[in-house]
Assembly symmetry: C2
Homo-oligomer: 364 residues x 2
């Protein structure tokens, strides 16, 4: 049996379609590089609701726990939009993050040369862009208690959420950001609203302490979240690694993704803490969602899912060479002029999901 236990969770919408293309790469690796994975597949999101009545059944959590890495598609769609809160497909992701302790969500925003024109920003502002958002993903306002909608004495409703961070939660995700910065351009921009939020004040203090004590060689900058949104949109190349809470990281990483103009190209990883043997849980997924409007049409861009698989190979299986092979194949296919609808440019050849997938395998 392989020591590479891989759980695949295609999910909803275009998830299964783009995951299918990764399967081709896996078959190719099996044939040509004699790498074999111990693969299982599970249900999550709307698909799991339909099959099992829960967006994240216990078996899925157990399978994810047992796996060395999880390749995730995407969840959600109009079919499940009117379900009560506890039955939202999104809870599938949230529960996996929480139960597996996947506290560091890494979202690169990279502009590949052939796609610099796809951005809504002027090409020279984004050409060569390569930034990384490190988002805390098991704490903050996503999970803090108390939370709920309550009826007050006057019969009116009141909605409550709690943003809460301990210094340990901040420190461990900060370390991930500093570590990454060392392998990149050595700069961390830590984002909060320390001017109005108490958790933001603590965030700023702890990140500063970790930086001074453990990473004095890494440049650290503190920035308010509103200003960061502004700077991302006006001068994105000033950033290397951006570190933020669950909520700010969510909004800023989507913004960063949007400004590349090629959301269909962006992978992400969510990592847990290494255990004594150095093994860490990890989940890899495209930044784009389930895109129900184009699901089933065969036109979705499989690149983000492919590149998520490349991240998986690199970080969970230490297969740097294979990861690079896939990344290079994707770049070559783009350079060759193939484009899915989302990144179509004049003069290029528009293709569907499977033609794109096949082309990538051919380039491998």
């Amino acid at each position: 049996a392989s020591n590479k236990k891989l759980l695949i969770l295609p999910g909803d919408g275009i998830g299964p379609e783009v995951v299918r293309e990764v399967r081709r790469v896996i078959e190719w690796m099996d044939r040509r590089r004699s790498v074999s994975f111990d693969i299982s597949e599970g249900v999550v999101g709307g698909a799991a609701l339909d099959a099992e009545g829960s967006p994240c059944p216990d078996e899925t959590v157990a399978a994810a726990r047992a796996a060395d890495a999880v390749l995730f598609g995407s969840v959600g769609g109009p079919k499940w939009d009117s379900l009560p809160f506890e039955k939202r497909p999104e809870l599938g992701v949230l529960r996996l993050r929480k139960d597996l302790g996947l506290f560091a969500n890494l979202r690169p925003a990279v502009v590949l040369d052939p796609l610099a024109d796809a951005s809504s920003l002027k090409a020279d502002l984004v050409r060569g862009l390569d930034l990384m958002i490190v988002r805390e993903s098991t704490g903050g306002i996503y999970f803090g208690e108390p939370r709920g909608i309550e009826i007050m004495a006057d019969g009116k409703r009141r909605g409550i959420d709690t943003e809460v961070y301990t210094e340990d939660e901040i420190a461990r995700v900060a370390r991930v950001a500093f570590d990454l910065a060392r392998k990149r351009r050595n700069k961390v921009t830590s984002v909060e609203k320390a001017n109005v939020m108490q958790s933001g004040r603590l965030w700023r203090a702890v990140v500063g302490e970790i930086g001074r004590a453990e990473f004095p060689d890494v440049e650290l900058e503190h920035m308010y979240a509103d200003n960061c949104a502004m700077q991302l949109c006006s001068r994105p190349k000033q950033f290397d690694v951006i570190l933020g809470s669950n909520l700010f990281g969510d909004v800023l990483s989507d913004l960063a993704a949007a400004l590349t103009g090629s959301l269909g190209m962006l992978p992400s990883a969510t990592l847990g803490a290494p255990d004594a043997s150095g093994r860490r849980h990890a989940l890899y997924e495209p930044v784009h969602g389930s895109a129900p409007d184009i699901a089933g049409k065969g036109i979705a861009n499989p690149c983000a899912q492919m590149l998520s698989f490349a991240m998986l190979l690199r970080w969970s299986f230490e297969m740097e060479e294979d990861a690079k092979l896939i990344e290079t194949a994707v770049q070559r296919v783009l350079a060759g002029g193939l484009r899915t609808a989302d990144i179509m440019q004049t003069g290029m050849a528009r293709v569907g999901t499977s033609v794109m997938g096949e082309a990538i395998v051919r380039e491998l």
Copy 2:
């Protein structure tokens, strides 16, 4: 005595410099249009800390309460950056918003034709952009209790903030947004994270109820905050009025401002509830901050402060004609080729704060 009681709070950084240019306009109005204001001036922010030891002294709050409108400059700067939380200049603004019940912060993001090229976005994506962000400004995570940094049993720190909204707080700011939309392009995009936040779920429900019951003629769309950041950056012209909580409104309005590329041109208004006689407290300020790096150099752009004064005339004093005069004067000066450093373009004439101010008065 005039019934137009105007309180001016220049604040810090470039605040006093740009407010000075508005004074010229006020003198011109006095001379040429026989409009007189009952003007007083007060301290706020760092200036107030230096003079009185508090970022918002009681006299300033009392003067603001007594005034029919407040013209505000900006607060903050490195001089006060290391002060403890309770002494931050920013508390000056926060206290005024809270004590005067200024719950609706209106931030237009407008691209004037001569400045379409100033945006980091491609000119055709922003040319003619005219959207309005309505941000709740006395509630949510900015003020919710409990909040603070506490020491846990294990001696470690924990930071806590509470996001809390009652249905009445949501309803009143939603009404402001719907009302504005009726005078514009009749569309409201309400922003939250109803998929992960309980206050967001309530926000979505209440805005929907108010829309259906009181504004069935206004198109209402609900959007997650992360998606809204994305959409603002990729297709900003899809929006008319964007409605959000204190926190989301803060981040998204700064983003919207940035994508105009001309932050130095953007005014804002923060409004309270009308009393029985229809009188409402209101504060007008530029969207840009105190810009300490250029303070005292005479190069700041006075336009945002001028346009804030125009908003004040329109909304607090019902002087539509005078408001239009100022707005037209600003546009003419730009069309004539004058530019302050922040909006400088090749082929234009670069001028300082007072030359810009004088030119605007001359165009009146």
